[in-house]
Homo-oligomer: 354 residues x 5
């Protein structure tokens, strides 16, 4: 299960703007890639030092700088200084326990959101924080880990597919956003399948493990909710915002992303409803099974207790017990026993216990 909370306590008391990386410490180097393009021109390279990208700042082409890995704080420091970013924003990029949000700093817009991916081996949802900085002719994106998630967009830029090369940096930012939200649908599908399998199991053969899976699913929906709900504000903030960085023509695309976000939220709420209903069903069905176990016990006890009592009677050693002397006493005993047994069975049949 995902950790409930990230260690953030070490930051308490530091002055605002202190650049401390919160998250898993990694030892590899950060990977920085640059794509620079306009309608006619295209350039892509991986750079070693962040200074290599500074030259692109003042060129009219759209520049996309992608940084994989946040533990090298000095990259951010240099970027911040050269581009004039606010220290609080840099702090937020490093703090990977951020709530999705959008902040308009005037000359650039800062967007932070959660990328979700599904680990097939561990059957778990993994979250990664993505930060985007949108400037007039650049987009800088930060990922916690090296990943291939943005590759479809890289392909579209390389091969000049769709309209991406004809549009500005705002369209690039939108494309990244759209890709991330589209990824949520994949998570939803996986989760939906899990729920459907669980529903099947709940009905046919509920076990104590089913209970654990329900609990696990419940936590996953709570977790997803926390990641996705704020996204709504982020996207609607971008759509309605008055920033000149988001051109009018982009608004319709953002509305589309907004619709998708709402749909993801809708789906999560539906999942929540279903999963929390499952627990009630589970409890009821456990009670049902208890009921049927108790019926078996009661039937057995109700049949054999009187019989055993009667057998006990004729095991008594009273001197004068006339039945014991009778020729057909034993036979009669058996007839009575069978009679009582049959009567009981008919009685339970009538009561619908059998």
């Amino acid at each position: 299960m995902p950790k409930l909370i990230k260690k953030r306590s070490e930051k308490a008391g530091l002055p605002p703007g202190s650049l401390v990386h919160i998250g898993e410490e990694k030892t590899q180097e950060s990977k920085i890639t640059i794509m620079d393009y306009d309608e006619t021109h295209f350039q892509e390279k991986e750079i070693k030092t962040i200074e290599e990208c500074f030259a692109f700042r003042d060129m009219p082409t759209v520049t996309w700088i992608n940084v994989d890995g946040l533990h090298q704080v000095e990259i951010l420091e240099k970027l911040g200084e050269y581009y004039g970013f606010h220290p609080l924003m840099l702090e937020d990029i490093l703090n990977t326990d951020q709530r999705p949000k959008m902040e308009d700093y005037g000359k650039y817009i800062y967007i932070v959101l959660k990328m979700l991916s599904y680990m097939d081996n561990s059957n778990e949802i993994v979250t990664e924080q993505i930060s985007l900085i949108l400037g007039p002719n650049f987009v800088i994106s930060f990922q916690e880990k090296k990943g291939t998630v943005f590759n479809p967009i890289r392909e579209r830029i390389r091969n000049d597919k769709g309209r991406i090369r004809k549009m500005g940096s705002d369209y690039l930012a939108y494309s990244l956003l759209d890709l991330i939200v589209d990824n949520y649908f994949i998570i939803m599908e996986k989760l939906g399948e899990k729920i459907e399998i669980l529903e099947e199991e709940l009905v046919t053969q509920p076990t104590p493990e089913t209970l654990q899976i329900i609990h696990h699913l419940k936590r996953e929906t709570i977790f997803l909710r926390k990641a996705v709900w704020p996204l709504r504000e982020v996207v609607s903030g971008l759509e309605r915002g008055e920033s000149s960085l988001m051109k009018e023509s982009i608004r319709i695309y953002l509305r589309d992303v907004y619709d998708h976000t709402i749909q993801v939220i809708d789906t999560i709420e539906t999942f929540r409803d279903i999963v929390s209903g499952m627990l009630d069903i589970y409890l009821s069905s456990v009670s049902n099974r208890l009921n049927s176990v108790m019926k078996v016990l009661t039937i057995i006890a109700t049949i054999f207790m009187p019989l055993t009592f009667i057998a006990g009677i004729y095991g008594m050693n009273f001197k004068y017990m006339p039945e014991l002397e009778w020729r057909w006493g034993y036979l009669m005993f058996w007839l009575i026993m069978i009679g009582i047994g049959a009567f009981m069975l008919i009685y339970f049949k009538k009561k619908r216990w059998l």
Copy 2:
């Protein structure tokens, strides 16, 4: 039960406006029908190629193009090109996992909603996505499957019944909307009947199957909610919208549809309340039955355990047991047994266990 979610993952990463049909793949051809009318004139035909309808675009009469079946993507492409529709809208039409919404593109309004129908054989609610494009003198409607659902309106146009022939394309769009919402009432009736039958059963004879039906009903209400709630915004958006495509005179009709939508939502919420209350009732009544089973067991055990013990005593082989020698020992034994049994029964009677 309806699938929780549609496969949408294959679209992730494609550029916006990619026309991919999401839904069940069908092999039949799409069916396109055209109705063109004004107060005096009426024409109806089924066409093979979508180009046949282009001639109607520039005629002053109201044209209703209905497309059944979405898998032939080229129909949409051509329509989109000729009428100048936005690619994002075309993408939404094909994506049948859409949330009901209304979008005003200025020259046309796009409405997407869910048509619900009740399959009598499988006892299930089936959903179908309906897209409407309302233009100044045309309405284009898209259905996933061939269906007869719009026939009442076709009849009204053919026979010039009501005021439909005297009004514009906005009245036609309203009529389609109204028909779809009216259909919801039929679903509500079916569901209401199901719930009433279930309530009866819950009270008289709850079984483990009852539990499954409750779960099923709960999911259906969750499902309906997801389909109907957004409709409210759609209709109120149309009513309050500033689009010149919806004339002032239509507003009062839209308000009527809005009232109906609210009533459907109200009914769903009522159903939800009742169904979720049922689960509690079920659990309580299972507990009640367990209680009564346990009472039987306890009564039997409480009566026969002491009796068996006493019978056991007189089965002992102690050399010196004076009672065994008594002349009326056995008789006294029986009297004591009956005494104990009677006392127990009276005791349970008093405790109201019998």
Copy 3:
């Protein structure tokens, strides 16, 4: 229990404004009564044909036309035509499955609400739809059934009690509204009594029937909620509305009705809270009783099982069993039995099971 939903499906597909009566079909004739009054003048009569009331339309006096019974559709048709009412409004009057609402048609205001009454014999709440049309000098009211519910107002008009004869048609409409809302308090009282009786029962002697009554009460509160919540909007709509039909002096009275409505809603919400809490109490108290049943069983079993075992031992036929030969063996047996029994009882006493 009240039906969850009324058959409305037969209307699906009809053009808007189709006058179809939805509700129980009645065979009696509708009853139409007219009261016409101003400060000095008063006239009351029952008419056979609706045309008889047309004369009053253009007189300056206040005219109150009350129609009991909606199945004679032609009455509405003629009224609608003569007074120029909108067909959608006429449709709403006939459709008795309406949600309470208020609609301002400019020249007249249409109000629809639910009249509740309590059937003492069946112990059930019965609902009836009341429609009011308020014009500059008339009020037309429609009831589903003949009833005496408006009699107090008729009395006040006849006897010139209060200020009703001095005021216009808006005050008459307010008076009718006020009467209907006052009636809700009676329902609340009945329901409150029912709940208090049930609470008593829940605590002293919960039976499976209690469960059914709780379920019944829950449904009744859900049902009332659906009828009363929309009323809030209706009354506040009238109070805040800009219609010149509601004079400024009437506003303060409407605010009073609004306060009453809020109080009814408050009471229903309180009832809901209490009733849904009852189910939890019920479940807990059933579990409590199960617990006490099980304790009896366990005490009996724990006392008699070891005793029966020991009695069984001395019933064995081993050749060499020294105890059997002892002079005081049987006595000792009894002492040991009583000892074990006493010890058990003390043990259970200590464990507070007794």
Copy 4:
């Protein structure tokens, strides 16, 4: 427990403004006291007829008329006539089932709220309706019963403590409000103590009585909620209102009362949360106890059933049973018995049932 609802039905159908006292009928006379003061002057007296207070209306000093007991309707009638109060307001004063509210009648403000007090003998919360009329130079207060609740303010006026004598009637009204809200804190304390005692009990020794107390507490919180929530609107209405009767300098005091109200509401909500959580805890802990009872039963049965069976075997009368003849047969029987018993105990120990 407090009655859920007051008999209000007798008012249904009466014209608005009918002065009917709703509440317990009392036979004593109402008690009317007058305090008249300004910075330099102070006068206090108890009067027999309401007319004695009329003289103060036109004096510049602040006059506080307090009426204890509402059953003498004529007092209200005369007051209403002399001061020109609206009949609807007078009706509201007499109707003691009023929802807390504030109404600005222009020349005076009407405030109605609930005074709560805790009956130490019956352990119950008692509610009383307080009505305040604030005029430019007077405050008229109505209580249902004679009480000492306003005494602290009387003391402050008599002894010229605080700033009350320097301020106008609005400050007096504020002081009364503040006193009533302060009283709520006392109720909260009592309730808080009750809850803490109950929590203790729930954990150490839950009994069926605990269940009743939880239910009682739940109803009390529901009841309090109904009394206190509307107060928020009342106070914020006064604070933000544009009435010239509330001077600007008073606003800061009203904000203070508002803060207190919010805190009371906060506390009630916390109580609600805790109390409704208690029911779940209770149910779980009853289940836990059932579990432990059942374990005892199962352990006893599992140990003694096989033993009794074996004892039964050697009580059989088969002719040829070699064990019976053995010299050490009886000893071996005992060894086997003890072995089985010991094994069972170890088994249950391992399963953590002991």
Copy 5:
């Protein structure tokens, strides 16, 4: 567990502005420290009498007066008089049962909030009320107890770290706020760990103690909610407020604190959801265990009851019982016994009870 409510009743009836300390009475003296600084200058001292700080009021440097301990009411009185603070504010500072709030008094802003800290020894969350008064060139802070919580900021001022010495009193107030909110994250971490440990326990080995811990956690989240929710309004009030005391440049920092607050609230809500889900899981898992206990009982009873009955039969003393005479009777008895036992075991295996 934290007390639900503080004794506040002694204040009821006192005139507004009465300075009464509500909280634990302490006997030590209050500790007052002063820090006075600007960019170039820095002075720090601990003073004995409050008058010593008056000199700083009219100096242009930023003065931070910190008072630890509220029981010396005269300190507040003198401060209030010299600085001209409103008596209601002074009252609020002393009343440590305050809801977090922000009040703009024009010349100064009053902020009250809760400082949370985690007592490692008692495993409990302790709350302390912090009051801040922000003036144009001063901040006065009040704590209930002597504490080191503000030390990081003192360090930053002493060592001129960050920008704090370059900024005004508003930045100091922000820094204190930020520190308090950062502290909440530490509490969240602790709580998160507790919950994760509990989840582990819930799944592997739920005991009655688990129930108590869940209840405890639930109360803690309710408690935290009450402390943190109002903070949101406080911070957003400061951010959006029009007070000139909060300079424009500070707004961006306040937005950062606001984001943190939202995140704390989000986390608390997540915890609430998880904890309340736990109770359902607990109940279900207790039921599961009951089920498995009952199965053991039923299996034992179902196997041994028939066997004991048969053994009882052959212990009977009927004269004519042919089986007893048979040579292999006893052997056959054993074969039948083993047969029945084996059949039962296979039956239970098939029913998946074993």
